[in-house]
Symmetry: C2
Subunit: 349 residues, 2 copies
Amino acid sequence: MRPEWLDAPLAEPSEKHRQEALNRQGQLTKPPGSLGVLEKIAVDFAGWQNKMMPELESLKVVVFAGDHGVVESGVSAFPQSVTVEMVKNFSRGGAAITVLAKHLEALFEVVDVGTANDPGPLPGVVSSRVGAGTADMSKGAAMDEKQLYAALEAGRQAAIRGNEEGVQLLVGGEMGIGNTTAAAAVGSVLTGLSPALMAGPGTGLDSTGVANKALIIQKAIDENSPDAKDPLSVLRKVGGFELAALSGFYITSAQLGIPILVDGFITTSAALAAVKLRPELADWMLFAHLSEEPGHSALLAAIGGQALVDLEMRLGEGSGAAVAVPLLKMACSLHSEMATFAQAGVSQG
Amino acid sequence: MRPEWLDAPLAEPSEKHRQEALNRQGQLTKPPGSLGVLEKIAVDFAGWQNKMMPELESLKVVVFAGDHGVVESGVSAFPQSVTVEMVKNFSRGGAAITVLAKHLEALFEVVDVGTANDPGPLPGVVSSRVGAGTADMSKGAAMDEKQLYAALEAGRQAAIRGNEEGVQLLVGGEMGIGNTTAAAAVGSVLTGLSPALMAGPGTGLDSTGVANKALIIQKAIDENSPDAKDPLSVLRKVGGFELAALSGFYITSAQLGIPILVDGFITTSAALAAVKLRPELADWMLFAHLSEEPGHSALLAAIGGQALVDLEMRLGEGSGAAVAVPLLKMACSLHSEMATFAQAGVSQG
């Protein structure tokens, strides 16, 4: 049965504090609007934190890991074993996202939602296994309803843990060989764009590989007939455990009043599914970067989101979100610490 | 007499260490190239620091302040008094760049190269005054040769101070009501593009104001006939004290082997003048952001530089450079701290 919490109300950003922050921006010692996007970010945080002078001190990065049965059809440049190998690499701090999380002094957690092989207990890894990887979506549904709800719940619990730790921002990341295929399938169904427009090189396919990947996605869509108006069924039929977990993570985060920084292609596909379920969720999201994965811009457009930076990244893990975090911190610092024209005795234009 | 140091050799980035770093990037636990621009930045720093594992721990931001006689012709939305008022605001820590420098734990200094009124001794402000603002370039040369060389020297001394403090990156910023007019004039002469393409709103002109600004720039160019092949004379005739200081700052920085992060429109015009003098200087430069000022992209193109981020900023002071600094730090951290495939036992694609 569809979990009730999916339909529970989201928190509402405070329009009053947004207006107060907007007014403050006009009084700071700079030409009005000259801090560009940083001004908008500060105003967003004022609304999210219900105060005119927001701050961003604490955040958490959660990487959801899962495997994909469709990998058997040859959709990735890397073997499936890499998913668990990378989970171990996260646990030991050797991966890009762990280096970045340390640099940002962010809380960090990996949630194993269902890798092909259970890595067993590892430091910093929460086991919320829904299965040993999804089924091959080109031959049937990627998962059953019970697995879908368990994956959504795994994401929900991660957001609840972050809230208990008092973080002011949640960043979702993912690891899963084959998950650009699942993300492209979900994105293709939800946007109505063809798999050929959504499929990309992922970890490094050549053009033949990408064409094959698009064919397999089309096969999965034909096989499963997912209904674009039912995002949950799309996640179940052609998604993945970590995608469903991310969707649950995002919805719960907004229910708890914690803003979300969305990473790249895969996380944006999960964000789109979640926004299709709960359109007001978009008010709690910032979009960190434009991925090199070609379908990403269409997913962003479908949400109405704009990426903060474009650094030609395509790694996933939450890495593109992590590199944008300092921009959010600086936006809040500028907003709260700059002098006003009156305070500084500076003439206005 | 043209200062001899202008022609002294620049340091040379180490090709050997660039290659070693490039090789290391291919061994880190990520799909090759997936960190995009961050990989290139790490390789650049390896060449600049002569080591495979570069780091970016210490940096200095220097804001050069000067006034502009051309302001009498009505080219700015703010009164000239704001230049000195903002110097005081920098000194007290209330301006955008000072908030950012504090956030970045960067060394910070203001160099007064010639504001209209001498603010007298202020904490954190170095007095290297070349005059009480430039002359009105629409009626003759902005400065004489002696002033030009003194302004270049003021920039040089700031880079030397940074080197003595052991910094690994220098960021130049600027403050000067009217300096987008001077920067547009310099940029127009050096690129050959018309003032109408180079003039922008600056601190907030409307379209009539921008059109008037372009006319005044054209008048200044007609009056002075600057020679595009002689960048020093361009800086002297239609530039500004802080522009010349920035050019000297950049050249000296590269002579000392310290890489440079260029800010926005005004600093890029000074960077272009310096690169026209010393083309190999471009090898020591990163370009932080694309300014909203419409002429900026043409200046970047003339240097062959690519901005790291576009946040719709147009404040100056070095603020656009400051917000990009964390990207450089994270690029170095990722490069030096990530595990290799061999170290992590992760299978390669």
